[in-house]
């Protein structure tokens, strides 16, 4: 992001929204075949912005070639660490035929970028990539036509390379993109859209590429929402209830008033202190005395599972095939198990932050958000402005993982900016992060499955509570199956005592933990190794291929569990990305502690745009995944969140790090699928299976805390002595 141009820190006057429609535009500029206009005046862009469904047709909405030859790439997606700052630039540079280092990303700016629903679900490359490529391909084709006119050479004789178009018979005859466009928007479009390049012709896309945002991030220059400084800006701290559902009875702000230059706002439910120094605002907040009426504490993290089952909505059929009763009759061995998952926090290092500045009937917002366009309408609504007068700018986001799809802090900053008539920054504290986070919901999964004598799965009856449908459909070859879901991972279900929502690969982590644990239980009963059993029950060739690739890299043969060696397997189909993960663990049975020594992941995501970026995502998924598997669990009592910081809510640290190895399956024929989330989904299953292989103790509840591991070990011993 060239922030001087697109992310003005001290001024929001660099772009004045223009509202020319096509008719007015033609009146002004005439109706010639080729016209150039400057970007702020582009009706195409305006139209694109108005059409709130799908991506725009006009390629100018995606890119602009500057007079200096630099190319701006506009996307409503945001960069939160996942690396599309680099991979989208690669896609554009490839298709437009410009050097990668001439591309500047402009991301998540509602005034400049095409509308986008938000950055989540590993969707950026999969869904934004194709229109971006088409836009660049058309722009290049148009540029060649313009060059033909300019050079008086037939288009077929021209070649584009590195932002220059030249005569293939005489390379001296050439013209650059910048010379052709002079920094203006290109008002010529093609009826027949040119095809995008075949992957075999790629020289930028598909090549391992270092992050383009590193330098700003290692020097401290990279700006996040909390780094925005505006003249007169106030830092706000808000009074919060001690528990969810508490009602304010009385408040005494007299002590806080004594702090010099403090501003105190009381507006219905909103009580805030504001100061030009954040620490002074913090001090004032500590001096407010408030009394709340507390709700009854109905549920805690011990009783939550029964509560969820009792309060779940009615079931929905995710998928169904064959005849379950027939399957049950074919089974010689049936297996019934219940899997439990606790609430998990996003715990991004950057807290929810927003800065809002109101100027007359216009507002500018800087926000740490995965959904800038949603923030735009929310701010417009709360301020009573039209959406087009609200500009949301998304600087770098310091981690999202689904936790920054709602914009509570943006709305708070907007209300306070309106009430104080000053620019206001709201940056949540860590305690607020844990209080208002939309947690990955606690969930229960019940599975009943059966095998026949030859070790084939003959039926599968699966029901989840609050895990939704994602990754719940069996990819094993099971003739008789049914998958039911009672409640998804999102929404504002009354069942949960606080907010829940999307958490990296929503629902999938929970579903895959249950599915892949159940598969291992059956493998052992079938007297097979977990690898042999999976291959026997798979017909899907793509899944077999990733499984074999992972096994090759892993290098150890699998034996019937428990082999005492601590090897585990789990597979996932996450929205079209297939992967197999294998792990090696050591269990300290006395302490109940698991050390993960090695994780191998083979992933098939179709065409890979940036193999280096993909590896980073897989490594990040594996490392982050260890948290929800081993320690991460929100402790609560009713609406009271007992975890307030990283002392009790433990996320993975350096010492947890296993050796991580990745294998990317070569499958460029398939359009790119997602890669930001898939590799986190098998972590529950693969570690549970490895722990079983090491100890013979089966863990049915995540996270596998030392207490739960010791309990499972005890049950194992009881079982052993019972059989003896």
């Amino acid at each position: 992001m060239r922030e001087d141009e697109y992310m003005p820190i001290y001024s929001d006057n660099s772009i004045s929204p223009v509202t020319l429609d096509r008719r007015e535009f033609l009146k002004l500029f005439g109706g010639g075949i080729i016209i150039f206009i400057s970007i702020g005046d582009s009706f195409a862009l305006q139209e694109a912005r108005r059409s709130r469904r799908g991506y725009p047709e006009d390629f100018n909405a995606y890119l602009r070639i500057g007079e200096d030859g630099r190319v701006s790439c506009f996307t409503g997606k945001i960069e939160m660490g996942q690396g599309i700052f680099t991979s989208l630039a690669q896609m554009l540079a490839e298709e437009l035929d410009v050097p990668l280092n001439t591309v500047d990303m402009v991301m998540g700016d509602t005034a400049l970028c095409p509308w986008d629903m938000g950055t989540f679900g590993s969707r950026s490359t999969k869904y934004f990539g194709p229109p971006l490529r088409k836009a660049a391909a058309e722009a290049k084709a148009v540029l060649i036509l313009l060059a033909a006119e300019h050079l008086q050479i037939p288009p077929k004789q021209l070649i584009a390379k590195d932002g220059v178009i030249f005569d293939k018979n005489n390379t001296e005859k050439k013209v650059s993109y910048a010379q052709l466009t002079k920094g203006k928007t290109i008002e010529k479009h093609l009826k027949d859209k040119p095809p995008i390049k075949h992957y075999s012709k790629h020289t930028i896309s598909g090549k391992p590429t270092d992050r383009l945002d590193s330098k700003q991030k290692v020097t401290g220059e990279a700006k996040y929402a909390g780094d925005i400084r505006l003249p007169g800006m106030l830092y706000a701290r808000l009074l919060r209830p001690p528990v969810h559902g508490a009602k304010l009875k009385s408040v005494d702000i007299s002590a806080a008033r004594k702090i010099k230059d403090i501003q105190i706002i009381q507006d219905e439910d909103l009580i805030a202190v504001l100061h030009q120094c954040r620490d002074e605002a913090e001090k004032a907040l500590g001096m407010i005395r408030a009394q709340f009426e507390l709700p009854e504490k109905k549920v805690n993290n011990k009783t939550i599972f029964k509560h969820l089952i009792d309060s779940a909505p009615s079931e929905e059929i995710v998928t169904k095939a064959g005849d379950l009763e027939k399957g049950k009759n074919l089974a010689t061995n049936t297996f019934e198990a219940t899997y439990l998952n606790h609430y998990v926090a996003h715990a991004t290092l950057e807290n929810h932050t927003a800065v809002v500045k109101i100027n007359g009937n216009k507002a500018t917002v800087w926000a740490s958000t995965q959904t800038p366009f949603r923030a735009q309408s929310e701010v417009a609504q709360v301020l009573g402005l039209s959406s087009k007068n609200v500009r949301v700018i998304t600087p770098f986001v310091g981690g999202g993982f689904g936790g920054k799809t709602r914009n509570q802090q943006v709305i708070e900053a907007a209300r306070l900016a309106k009430l104080t008539l000053k620019p206001v920054q709201v940056a949540w504290s860590r305690k607020e992060e844990f209080f208002y986070d939309t947690f990955r919901p606690a969930a229960v999964i019940k599975v009943l499955s059966g095998l026949n004598d030859s070790g084939q799965i003959v039926f599968w009856d699966y029901l989840n509570y609050f895990a939704g449908d994602r990754s719940s459909q069996p990819f094993y070859n099971i003739p008789n199956h049914r998958v039911l879901s009672r409640g998804g991972w999102g929404g504002r279900s009354e069942a949960h005592p606080f907010g829940v929502g999307a958490w990296r690969a929503p629902g999938s982590n929970t579903n895959v933990f249950a599915i892949e644990s159940q598969i291992d239980i059956m493998a052992e009963a079938a007297e097979m190794s977990p690898l042999e059993f999976r291959l026997k029950n798979l017909k899907n060739e793509r899944m077999k291929r990733v499984l074999k690739a992972a096994a090759d890299k892993f290098g150890h043969s699998f034996l019937k569990a428990p082999s005492r060696r601590g090897y585990g397997i789990a597979c996932t189909d996450y929205l079209g990305t297939y992967l197999a993960t294998m792990a090696e663990v050591k269990v300290d049975e006395k302490k109940g502690k698991v050390k993960v020594n090695r994780v191998v992941c083979a992933q098939d995501q179709g065409e890979v745009i940036n193999p280096e970026g993909t590896k980073m995502q897989i490594e990040g998924c594996i490392t982050m995944g260890l948290g929800y598997v081993l320690t991460e669990e929100i402790h609560f009592n009713g609406g009271e969140i007992l975890d307030e910081n990283f002392d009790t809510y433990k996320i993975p640290r350096f010492s947890w790090l296993p050796k991580i190895e990745t294998v990317l399956i070569d499958n460029p024929e398939m359009p790119p699928q997602g890669c930001g989330e898939p590799a986190i989904t098998p972590m529950g299953g693969v570690i549970a299976n490895a722990v079983y292989d090491a100890t013979g103790a089966r863990l049915f509840e995540l996270p596998m805390t030392p207490g739960r591991i010791k309990e499972a070990l005890k049950k194992r011993k009881a079982l052993v002595s019972c059989h003896a």
């Binding site: 939160m80 660490g81 996942q82 690396g83 270092d210 992050r211 945002d213 590193s214 330098k215 700003q216 991030k217 290692v218 020097t219 401290g220 220059e221 990279a222 700006k223 996040y224 909390g226 780094d227 400084r229 830092y235 030009q276 120094c277 954040r278 620490d279 715990a347 991004t348 290092l349 950057e350 807290n351 770098f396 986001v397 310091g398 981690g399 993982f401 940056a427 504290s429 860590r430 280096e612 980073m616 490594e619 990040g620 998924c621 594996i622 490392t623 982050m624 910081n645 990283f646 002392d647 996320i651 993975p652 640290r653 350096f654 010492s655 790090l657 991580i660």
Partner: protein
């Protein structure tokens, strides 16, 4: 109590008047607009706010401004000199040892003090030194590689 505090910030002498108990983090971030130092957990658990005071890594969210009186403070903005990145910064770039970048300034400054005290740390020593710097994106493996690379570069005599 307002107090006049003299210190060197990123190589330049500075004098400011402030309540001595104010935390270094907020003085840096809001008064001095040096925003490379990050606020995250606010209680010293995560390391995102680490700066150098007399070449020791301190968690600026826990560090009163009066403590820097007469001392040398270096923030991430002051690590590169004359346009040249520090070998650690180069190594973080080379290994793509970051994702969202929010923990990065604290990671680099913590690693800086490690290499100052132990120029050739083993893998285990790196892990021990870095243990209380948190990264949510999961880049620990690459950070370790970056520190190892920087240590080799610095051994060859390039300190900047």
């Amino acid at each position: 109590m307002e107090k006049t505090i003299h210190f060197n910030l990123n190589g330049k002498p500075l004098r400011l008047t402030s309540a001595g108990e104010r935390l270094l983090l907020w003085v840096l971030r809001s008064d001095l607009e040096l925003t490379g130092t990050k606020y995250s957990c606010g209680e010293g658990f995560c390391g995102a706010c680490i700066v150098l005071v007399n070449n020791k890594a301190v968690r600026s969210c826990q560090y009163p401004i009066k403590e820097v009186d007469g001392k040398e403070v270096i923030t991430i903005e002051g690590l590169h000199k004359n346009g040249n990145l520090h070998p650690l910064q180069d190594a973080f770039i080379q290994h793509n040892a970051l994702q969202c970048g929010f923990c990065t300034p604290g990671m680099i400054l913590k690693a800086y003090t490690l290499l100052l005290n132990n120029p050739q740390p083993t893998y285990t020593e790196i892990v021990q030194a870095m243990e209380w710097n948190l990264c949510r994106c999961g880049t620990y493996n690459r950070i370790i590689q970056a520190i190892q690379t920087a240590a080799r570069t610095m051994k060859r005599g390039r300190s900047r």
